[in-house]
């Protein structure tokens, strides 16, 4: 019984951690919701191709969102993810730590490159600084994912601004 309880506790902790990690997809989905068209089932299916990277590369410079770019990038990422997983299983030991290749530095640079064209007004610059600041402050104190969800509250800087 103790081991079952222990397993259940571990599973609950793992579930909670992963759900918090992915909670950021709620604000991310809301940010581009109006670009999804067609019936609800199609919007539901297409929304599943949203990941951080496919969402970010599909953001247009002056605001707005290119749904086709997101779908293409999302499908490509999904395929590469699966291929990468199998390759990693097969020859991962030979590659060793992928961060040796600097892959972990590629992601913040990608998001920075996509953030800068978004900063088309003082309000948006203030929003980005506040969002980044919220995330930075929370990182040591909250589980992964929560800093990003909390940072989305910085969008309130845009309150009262006409589109």
């Amino acid at each position: 019984v103790a081991s079952i309880l222990h397993d259940a506790g571990t599973a609950a902790a793992a579930i909670l951690a992963a759900v918090m990690l992915n909670a950021r997809y709620a604000p991310i989905g809301i940010s581009v919701a109006s670009s999804f068209e067609g019936p609800a089932w199609r919007r539901l299916l297409e929304s599943q191709l949203v990941v951080d990277e496919s969402w970010a590369v599909a953001l247009k410079r002056r605001g707005g969102f290119d749904l086709k770019v997101m779908l293409g990038a999302g499908a490509l990422l999904y395929a590469s993810w699966n291929v990468g997983t199998w390759v990693g299983l097969a020859i991962g030991d030979a590659i060793g730590d992928a961060n040796r290749l600097g892959l972990d530095a590629a992601f913040p640079a990608l998001f920075l490159a996509l953030l800068i064209p978004q900063l088309t007004s003082r309000r948006k610059l203030a929003t980005a600084l506040l969002g980044g600041g919220i995330a930075l402050v929370l990182i040591p104190f909250t589980p992964a994912g929560i800093p990003i969800v909390a940072a989305s509250a910085a969008c309130l800087v845009g309150w009262g601004e006409p589109r």
């Binding site: 397993d7 992963a18 940010s31 919701a33 919007r43 599943q48 640079a109 800093p147 969008c155």
Partner: protein
């Protein structure tokens, strides 16, 4: 059902729901109600900035300064020089790799 499968199913269902919330409830090309459009149009810079920060310095419940920062700085320089996205990403990765090598 094993704990692993339970975890996969619950997390999968929650993630599907998170992703679908906006597009299903607010989608269909409709204009958002006026009071929402300001904040929603500011979500992207807020979340992107948080992604930059977490990807650059987050460790396990800690802030870690490592070669990612040099990589990010190199990427920032590439952005300022108006380099294409792929060049920005490669500059960042190559710089971080170089810093770790020496």
């Amino acid at each position: 059902v094993s704990a692993v499968w339970l975890t996969v199913v619950v997390v999968g269902a929650a993630t599907i729901a998170f992703k679908a919330t906006g597009p299903v409830l607010l989608g269909r090309g409709r204009e958002l109600p006026g009071w929402l459009s300001g904040p929603v149009s500011h979500l992207a810079p807020a979340v992107l900035a948080a992604l930059v920060v977490t990807q650059a310095v987050a460790g396990h419940r800690s802030i870690v300064f490592d070669a990612r920062l040099e990589g990010l700085a190199a990427g920032a320089v590439a952005v300022v020089l108006r380099a294409p996205l792929l060049v920005v990403v490669i500059a960042a990765a190559a710089t971080a790799a170089l810093v770790r090598l020496v």
